[in-house]
Symmetry: C2
Subunit: 340 residues, 2 copies
C-alpha cells in the first residue's frame, strides 16, 4: 500500500500512535503546538514545526525568496499565536540543490530575519544540506505561555459563538490571481491595487500574534485555532477535539470587496474561497454567547466577525443560508498524498 | 553564484549572521545544541535539529527503514549528549513521495519509537507532506541540563588531554562494507561477525547519552563534541571555538581489530577511517592533564582513549607518529555543496 492510498491524515494518525505522551507532556499531537511542562514555574513551553516544499507548497516562479522566508516563519508564529503564546526561539533546516543561487538563499534568510525581528523570536541554530532536487525548508519554533492562559482546540461548548479575524479566503484568491498572471494575458484593470493586496495576503501573511496573546491574557476564548487548512477544515479540527457541532451562517462569513472582485473576475465563488481556502493564518475561535464582535475587535486590534455558533454534536459544521437551508459543504482542506 | 561554489560552511556562516542572539540566548549557532534560558530555574534548554535526506545521507537500498528511524533520532540525541544534557521532547518532519510504501513509513516510525523509548525522549508532534522526489526526514529535539553542568566546545585549554570514547572510524568502515556488498561478489569470509558489527555501527549508532551526562555531572570535561563529521573535523570545531591547537598521537588513536580487518580487506587505511570517518556519534572531549583514561572509562561506562593534548594555537590539529613526524592531514569532514 502506498501513502497516496491512505492520505495525509491517516499517516499523521500513525505518527500519533508513537506520541504516547510522557513526563511533562501536557498536550502532544492534536493541537497547533505541543504544550510542555519544562519552562519556568507557571509557564509552559509551546513547540511546533512546519514544512515548506518547492513544487508542493510554493514555486519559485510565483514566490520571491524573501516572501518565502517571511511566510515560512509566519506559519510557525501563527501556530504559537493559535495557543495564545509568545514565540521565543527557532531553528531553520534548509535542503537546497547545489545549483541554487546563493543570492536566493540570502534573500530567503533576509525574509526569515525580518519576521524574526518583528516577532521577537531569535534564530538559534539549524541544519543545512544538499537536496537532490526540490528545496525543503523546515522551521521548528519554541514559544511559551503562562500555563493558565493556554487556549486549546478542545474547549468549545454548545452555545459558544464562533468568531474569525480578518477576511479568510483572501490568500486563496491571491494564489488564484498569481496563477492567472503566470498563465499570461491577465489584466487586473481597475482592480490592480485590490489584487496586489490579495497577492500580498498569499505571499506574506501576517501571523496574529498580538491577537492571540490578547485573547489568552483576557481568557476570552474557549477554543482557538489558526486558519491554515481552510476555515471549515480548521473549524472541523476544533469540533472533533471538542466533541461538538457547529452552525455557520453563510451571510455572516466576511467577504471583503477585494475578495468579491477577485471571485467575480476569476469565476470563483467568494464564499467558497472564504470557507475552503487555506493559508490565511487568521484566528478562528469560540467564546461564550455574550461576547460581542466589536468588543473582541477592540481587544484583539483586528476586525472580528461572528460567523455562527457551536451546537451539540455530531462534530461537523453545517453552513446555512438566510432561509436556514444547508449550503452544500465544499471540498476543503488539503491532503498532501491524495492524487489530484 | 551557486551554493556549490561557496560550500556548506559558508552557507552556515550566512545563517549565523541572522542568529544575533537575543533575550535568553546563552549559546546560539556554534555548538552541538543551542543553549537557552527558558527552563526551570537553574536549568537551561538544549535545542537541536538534524536533516536526513535520501540519496544524500542514506539510500533505501543500504538502509532499512527501521534503522534509519533509529539513526535519525540517535543523531539528535547525540547532540544533546555532546552538551551533557538529557533529551526531553522531539518533533518529526517527514516529506515522502506519494508512492512511498506505507509499510516503509511504519517501520521508520517504529525505529524512531524504539530510540525514543530507550532515551526517555517523548515524540510530541511534527509535520508531514508530499515530497516531489526524495525522502526528507528532520527531527527537532529539546533537551535540558543544569546550567552549571553544560559542557561547551569552547572550554579546551593548552595542556588539557584529548579523549575519545569507543572506536571512531567503525561507522565509515561499515558504510564501505555495505557499499562493497551492494556492488556484489563480496565474501566476508572469517570476518563475517566483525563486519556485521561494523555495519551495525553505521546503520544503528549508539548515542552516548549516559556518558555525556556522567561527564557533565562530574564536571570532568573542559570541552565536548560528538564525532559526526569525523574525529579531526570535530576536533577542529573544538579548537576553533577554544582558540587552541592540538597534538594527536597517531599510535594512540584506537583502531579496533574489526576496523583493522575491514581496512585490510578493503584497501583502506584504518587510521584514516578513524580520523576522517564520520557518523560515529562517539564523544570527543578534553579534560585537565591529570585525568586518566581508566577512571574516565569507569565514570562514563564506555571505553575511553587518550589520543593527544591541547597545545597553544594556531587552531589546527597536528597528527604525529612515534618519531614525532607529522602525518599528512587527511581530507576530512563532509561538505554537502562541494562537487565530489
Amino acid at each position: 500500500m502506498k501513502l497516496s492510498e491512505i492520505g495525509e491524515f491517516a499517516l499523521i494518525d500513525r505518527l500519533a500512535v508513537l506520541a504516547r505522551g510522557g513526563a511533562g507532556v501536557i498536550q502532544g499531537i492534536g493541537d497547533d503546538c505541543a504544550v510542555l511542562e519544562a519552562g519556568a514555574p507557571g509557564t509552559v513551553l509551546l513547540f511546533t514545526t512546519d514544512l515548506l516544499i518547492e513544487h508542493v507548497h510554493f514555486d519559485r516562479a510565483t514566490t520571491p525568496a524573501r516572501a518565502l522566508g517571511r511566510k515560512a516563519l509566519a506559519a510557525n508564529l501563527s501556530d504559537v499565536a493559535a495557543m495564545g503564546g509568545t514565540p521565543r526561539f527557532f531553528l531553520v533546516n534548509l535542503a537546497a540543490p547545489p545549483h541554487t543561487p546563493v543570492e536566493w538563499v540570502e534573500a530567503l534568510y533576509a525574509g526569515i530575519g525580518e519576521r524574526a525581528d518583528a516577532s521577537g523570536a531569535a534564530l538559534v541554530g539549524g541544519d543545512t544540506a544538499a537536496s537532490p532536487d526540490a528545496i525543503h525548508l523546515a522551521i521548528a519554533l519554541l514559544g511559551e505561555c503562562p500555563e493558565a492562559e493556554v487556549i486549546y482546540r478542545h474547549g468549545a461548548r454548545p452555545g459558544d459563538s464562533i468568531f474569525v479575524t480578518g477576511s479568510p479566503g483572501e490568500s486563496a484568491a491571491g494564489l488564484a490571481l498569481l496563477t492567472a498572471e503566470l498563465a499570461g494575458g491577465f489584466d487586473p484593470g481597475a482592480d490592480r491595487a485590490a489584487f496586489e493586496a490579495l497577492k500580498a495576503r498569499h505571499l506574506d501573511p501576517e501571523p496574529r500574534l498580538n491577537a492571540g496573546r490578547a485573547l489568552a491574557r483576557a481568557r476570552a476564548a474557549t477554543a482557538l485555532i489558526d486558519v491554515s487548512d481552510g476555515l471549515l477544515a480548521d473549524l472541523g479540527h476544533v469540533l472533533a477535539r471538542s466533541g461538538c457541532g457547529a452552525r455557520v451562517e453563510a451571510a455572516r462569513v466576511p467577504v471583503s470587496p477585494a475578495l468579491a472582485a477577485a471571485g467575480a473576475r476569476l469565476g470563483l465563488d467568494p464564499l467558497a474561497l472564504a470557507l475552503a481556502g487555506g493559508e490565511d493564518y487568521e484566528l478562528l475561535f469560540t467564546a461564550p454567547p455574550g461576547a460581542a464582535p466589536e468588543a473582541l475587535s477592540r481587544l484583539l486590534g483586528v476586525a472580528v466577525s461572528r460567523i455562527g455558533a457551536i451546537t451539540p454534536g455530531p462534530d461537523r459544521a453545517r453552513v446555512v443560508d438566510a432561509a436556514e437551508k444547508e449550503v452544500p459543504i465544499l471540498p476543503s482542506g488539503f491532503d498532501h498524498f491524495r492524487p489530484r
